[in-house]
Amino acid sequence: MRRLETRWGILMALPAILGFLIFTIGPMAASAFFSLTDWRIGAAPVYVGLGNYTAMAGDELFWKSLTTTTYYTLGSVPLVLIVSFAVAVLLNQRVRGLSVWRTIFYLPTLVPAIANVVLWIWIFNPDFGLLNSLLRQGGLPTSQWIYAESTAVPSLIIMSTWAFGNTMVIFLAGLQGVPRHLYEAVSIDGGGPLRRFWHVTLPMMTPTIFYNLVVGVVGTFQVFNQAYVMTEGGPNHATLFYVYYLFRKAFNESEMGYASALAWTLFMIIMVVTFLLFRNARRWVYYEMAGAR
């Protein structure tokens, strides 16, 4: 039985193990090697050591793409967290028609990425788009949105906030897991809703906030579609996001070696940021059953 179990166990895990080797480990090693070469598709790779990495240090567009992406992350992640947390807290107040409200707030999440992008190009249209039409009607100043250098990234941040549904549902599940007796304890001590929120809800929700924070940061660092379809990185490189720059280097300019170096740098940046987030988490994330697992 024991040997049979081992044989079946390995056999059944085999697709997953092979997939990991073929589609994760193999390509990762290959991309590490490519990043040390000067390589265009069709020609043979030429070893250049750390040449690509030193070239990056002097590449203005690399720095531009890094700051642009960081700007986007710093704007989008907190905004999405705050909006989705606020809505989740409201929905957790025993509202009537909960499933209807939840559906409304979840709908934008379902819109396929490209349809989303096409829709928002029209919403941002400076002449007849939704936003400027409303602003004009309200007698407010209009904006060039994605068509001006200074407003392009903020516009995309607003757009990213629209689809906060997944984050909200996760918050909602977290809120429903906060033990009732904690709220009652605060009430007995004469604490009002604000106190309950500050001393029970917020601390109990820190693990969920932390999870959404990490997922949000890793996700926004890899933003691509908006730059590819909406702005082509413009105007004047204002929306030159990192993965879009990488994509252009690899598939438009055929600089596979340099693009691989960009990819590995992104990987390292994400690793470091996640590590820092986890290290910092010990200070503010509350785990009730720290030793349970």
Binding site: L4, E5, T6, W8, G9, I10, L11, M12, A13, P15, A16, I17, G19, F20, F23, T24, G26, P27, S31, F34, I41, V87, L90, L91, Q93, I104, F105, Y106, P108, L110, V111, P112, A113, I114, V118, L119, W122, I123, D127, F128, L130, L134, R136, Q137, I170, A173, G174, T208, V218, V229, V243, L246, A250, M256, S260, L262, A263, L266, F267, T274
Partner: protein, 278 residues
């Protein structure tokens, strides 16, 4: 504040959030049904008059969206089948069969979840190119038959969590009756895991249905385009034909929204499940 006004304030706040959430949808539908002449007036009009239903028929026939739909469906079905089958087989092995090194292997596989897709993008592309598989569905579907590969390992994790809640006595009873591990997997564990399987199915389906970068990289001839790719190329041709663009977008969005209303319960359950993992 007393109870009544506070409830009122609560619903007002929810409404204040719901209006901007729904407004883009209203804008989408009204633009999809409007004639250009009515679209370009200020202040904006909200009710199309007349309803320009021909926007849909014209937008959807100027490019073969029917064909794109079928292409997308084929890719989605083949990858979902692969993902569900190989992920649950692996999850069974990692949760209910004991073999040496099992937990180490599983922990290793899990690191794939954190990996940014950009790192593997270029070598994977080069590999498919060398294999002569560009412009076929192979690069978009084959990885699914290896437990989703990369980020798909998350599905193995979800299924494994679920499998662990099923009593082990059931397996033991079946083994005593002389069943093989495959039989236990197929006739004992799988039938009891329907909710988890549905969740994985839904998310794998949406993932492939909405994928843009994959088809963009691997599909070149127009006859092989997916809906996402078709819509992007449509957008670059009919830049200013907003009626057509919105009709085409609405047509791409509609199936997913319909699916959501059919399977609402599982959607929310699924997101919740993914969030609780930590």
């Amino acid at each position: 504040m007393t109870r009544g006004p506070r409830r009122l304030l609560l619903y007002l706040a929810l409404l204040a959030g719901a209006v901007p959430t729904l407004l883009p949808f209203v804008w989408l539908v009204r633009s999809a049904l409007m004639r250009d002449a009515q679209m370009f007036v200020a202040p904006p009009e909200w009710i199309p008059s007349p309803f320009q239903w021909s926007n849909f028929s014209e937008a959807l026939t100027t490019q073969p969206f029917g064909r794109y739909f079928v292409n997308t469906l084929v890719i989605a079905v083949v990858s979902v089948l692969g993902t569900v089958l190989t992920c649950s087989v692996a999850a069974f092995s990692f949760s209910r069969l004991r073999w040496r090194g099992r937990d180490v292997v599983f922990a290793l596989l899990l690191t794939g979840v954190m990996l940014p897709y950009a790192v593997t993008l270029i070598p994977t592309f080069v590999m498919w190119q060398r294999l002569g598989a560009l412009d076929t569905i192979a690069p978009l579907t084959v990885p699914s038959w290896f437990a989703g590969a990369g980020g798909g390992v998350f599905n193995v994790f979800l299924l494994r969590q679920f499998f662990l809640t099923i009593p082990f006595e059931l397996d033991e009873a079946a083994y005593i009756d002389g069943a093989s591990p495959w039989r236990v997997f197929w006739t004992v564990v799988m039938p009891l895991s329907r909710p988890a399987i549905i969740v994985v199915t839904i998310f794998a389906f949406i993932g492939t249905w909405n994928d843009f970068l994959g088809p963009l990289l691997y599909l070149q001839s127009e006859e092989n385009y997916t809906l996402s790719l078709g819509l992007a190329s449509f957008q670059s041709i009919y830049l200013t034909q907003w009626g057509y663009l919105m009709a085409a977008s609405a047509a791409v969005i509609a199936p997913i929204i319909a699916l959501f209303f059919l399977l609402q319960r599982y959607f929310i359950e699924g997101v919740t499940l993914t969030g609780i993992k930590n």
